[in-house]
């Protein structure tokens, strides 16, 4: 996910956080501290910089209630966040960033590694983030797979380690598998492959995301699916591969294949809801937003698999002492179930499934995680009915979706060149 102009998710401002803190203290809701130093932590504020995907007020409120820690959220888009993490490390205590961003940011040396033994549920983290394999038998996906940038040698090391160590760069929190969204009411044949995006039947009715490092991978999925030479690594293309991919896109653009390119969440929703576009790259909450308008929209699973992304929480290097203790307390709280359930209920996935499961009803768990038909109406976190009883989640169960990841959101070594070529495509 990149540009996070999600509707209805405003950042928690400083004043808002303070008001919230005041309200929580005043109402006497702050009780039951889990550890001995909790009385001190009560006064601690952690400043978290993140994207709109997980920078959610509800999480800050619950955190205050459960731990007493005041979470001050600042929400920005992925690019601004990467810049902030690398250049203004003292402006935040916790970075809520994507693993692909970590690849760029961590070597700058503004973060400190997280000690695995202090994370209560470290051993229960989904193995995608530790070994790269969902099950011992599954393959490791291309791109910036989280486990490749998940570990370093010691607290202050900046070089990634190829295998697990005691020091983690991020505690994984949220992830998902992206695919194409379609309007099943306007497409009267089954969509099964990425190459269907460029089917001439959809000329003038297709769209692709105009975020270079994500869009180019979607294009690469399409090209491989269409039988063109496979890529060694779609998440780390050579210059020749970048040339080949953008030439392919420019050709399609000249034929008038694309109706538009979208950059923000709302644009993708509007293109789909208005029927201007009937097949396009999409993010899962955007599909939900189209559906919530009563318009059919499917997050279509495809034979070649998904393009996945994952994010996590990291600690800024300057954090120390009691504040560092509070940061660990917060990370442990994040994995302890409430947030996991909250994220799972929005169609994302949480890093420790066991604790999240305990916080979800069996019907919710079966619908979101097992891919079974909803036994009862499924409610959105705000209480609205999201799916009627009997509905089935697109793409099926957690294992079916996360087990079919073809590549992860990536930062390429040739990024500057890729962006240049991508701009050529947009200007062509």
């Amino acid at each position: 996910m990149k540009d996070q102009s999600l509707p209805g998710r405003t950042s928690l401002t400083r004043r808002g956080a303070l008001a919230l803190a005041g309200a929580a203290v005043g109402s006497g809701a702050v009780t039951g501290f889990p550890t001995i130093w909790a009385q001190n932590i009560r006064n601690i504020t952690l400043r978290q910089a993140g994207t709109g995907v997980s920078g959610l007020n509800a999480i800050a409120e619950q955190c205050k209630k459960d731990t007493g820690i005041t979470l001050q959220l600042t929400v920005m888009d992925t690019d601004a966040l990467a810049q902030r993490a690398a250049t203004q490390p003292r402006s935040f205590d916790i970075a809520d960033i994507e693993y692909m961003t970590t690849k760029k940011v961590y070597p700058v040396g503004t973060m400190q590694a997280i000690e695995r033994r202090r994370i209560t549920h470290a051993d229960k983290i989904v193995p995608i983030f530790t070994t790269g394999r969902l099950t011992p038998a599954s393959a490791i996906a291309q791109g910036t797979a989280p486990h490749t940038v998940g570990f370093v040698a010691n607290r202050l090391a900046t070089a990634f380690e190829p295998s697990q160590t005691e020091w983690m760069t991020l505690i994984p929190t949220i992830y998902n598998a992206d695919t194409l969204g379609i309007r099943p009411d306007l497409i009267n044949r089954p969509i099964t492959n990425w190459k269907d995006l460029v089917d001439p039947a959809f000329r003038g009715k297709a769209s692709i995301v105009n975020v270079p490092n994500i869009g180019i991978m979607d294009a690469a999925m399409v090209m491989e699916s269409a039988g063109q030479a496979p890529y060694a690594d779609k998440g780390n293309m050579t210059r020749a591969e970048i040339d080949r991919t953008t030439a392919f896109l420019i050709d399609l653009k000249r034929q008038g294949h694309f109706r538009a390119f979208w950059k923000t969440f709302d644009e993708s929703v509007n293109l789909m809801a208005s029927g201007e576009v009937i097949i396009q790259s999409m993010w899962s909450p955007a599909v939900a937003a189209v559906r919530s308008r009563g318009i059919a929209c499917t997050y279509q699973p495809l034979a070649e698999g998904y393009r996945a992304w994952g994010g996590g929480l990291g600690i800024a290097r300057h954090v120390s002492g009691l504040q560092l203790d509070a940061a660990y307390e917060y990370l442990n709280w994040y994995l302890s179930g409430w947030t996991g359930a909250y994220l799972n209920r929005q169609g994302y996935y949480s890093a420790v499934l066991e604790t999240a499961k305990a916080q979800m009803s069996p019907a919710e768990w079966d619908f979101w995680m097992e891919g079974k038909p909803a036994a009862t109406d499924i409610l959105a976190p705000d209480g609205r009915v999201m799916e009627r009883a009997g509905a089935v989640r697109d793409g099926g169960s957690f294992t079916e979706r996360m087990g079919k990841v073809a590549c992860w959101n990536s930062v390429m070594n040739e990024e500057r060149y890729m962006v240049q070529k991508w701009n050529e495509f947009i200007a062509a």
Binding site: D79, W262, S274
Partner: protein, 282 residues
């Protein structure tokens, strides 16, 4: 002597504001355009790579051509529309009250924000939009017209809608200053409508036309929101190119592009001012 001090003091606040908020940022902009950069850092340096990349890339030339094209077409249309609207308001409408009322009507589009005005075109021009449905319903077409939205047509339409008023106001102003006796004299001397227009009204309106043209051209040359929204991301403009570079943290490249754009626009403004002396009538 005292008079000089007072004039200096009177001019000082504006000079200070301009120096701090215009000159200093511009100097920084120019300085940064010579910096080097990587993914995260601006590296203070004096390199020409940013400019070499700007001038060496065919994308730049294509984008400038496209931007000039948008500016040219928008200018021509807004000038035609703006001139005749101003003419109607200044010479045809009788009475100050009615004139003020009609003038206010012209500003209605500006009662909402720029962005909302543009977004409102989508349900109107879209494939399933009002216009297509009306045309389909009337039997004029049997296929929805695709070029109405997410096309250059849509971009120019939005520009014209947004900027015609910027042409109307200055032209209307100069027209109101024209001494009506001049027109009477011309008519008495036997000039017909077109002769009056060519030899009296247009020459006296030149300053207004120049100011309106500067508004429209400067606005179109620097635009990035209209082009992106109305073309659905399919078209590029120089402003869009700069905005993309900023979002990718390539500040020096964006700065170099901005310096070039600034120079180009200043040259265009200088050319207009050279052709028409606007001070003559102000």
């Amino acid at each position: 002597m005292r008079g000089t001090v007072v004039s200096w003091l009177l001019a000082a606040p504006l000079a200070l504001v301009l120096a701090v908020f215009l000159v200093v940022p511009l100097v920084v902009l120019v300085a940064v355009s010579f910096y080097d950069y990587d993914s995260f850092r601006l590296i203070p340096d004096f390199v020409f790579t940013n400019y070499i990349e700007v001038f060496g890339s065919p994308v730049t030339w294509r984008t400038y051509a496209k931007t000039f094209w948008f500016a040219g077409i928008t200018w021509a249309i807004t000038l035609m529309l703006g001139f005749w609207i101003a003419y109607y308001l200044a010479f045809v409408v009788e009475g100050t009250g009615r004139r003020t009322l009609l003038f206010l009507l012209c500003t209605i589009p500006f009662w909402t924000s720029n962005l909302i005005r543009m977004i409102a075109w989508v349900p109107f021009l879209g494939r399933n939009g009002l216009l297509n449905q009306a045309l389909l319903g009337a039997g004029v077409i049997d296929q929805p017209l695709e070029f109405l939205l997410f096309s250059d047509f849509a971009v120019v339409l939005a520009f014209v809608h947004l900027y015609t008023l910027f042409m109307v106001v200055p032209i209307f102003n100069t027209m109101m200053r024209i001494d009506r006796q001049l027109i009477e004299a011309a008519v008495d001397a036997g000039a017909d409508f077109w002769r009056v227009l060519r030899h009296v009204i247009i020459p006296l309106c030149k300053p207004g036309i120049a100011i309106g043209s500067i508004f429209v051209i400067v606005l179109v040359m620097g635009d990035f929101v209209t082009v992106r929204l109305m073309s659905g991301g399919q078209s590029a403009s120089v402003g869009l190119m700069i905005s993309n570079q900023i979002s990718l943290l390539q500040y020096p490249a964006a700065a170099a592009n901005a310096v070039v754009l600034l120079a180009v626009v200043l040259l265009m403004v200088a050319a207009i001012l050279r052709a028409i002396d606007i001070r003559k009538e102000l």
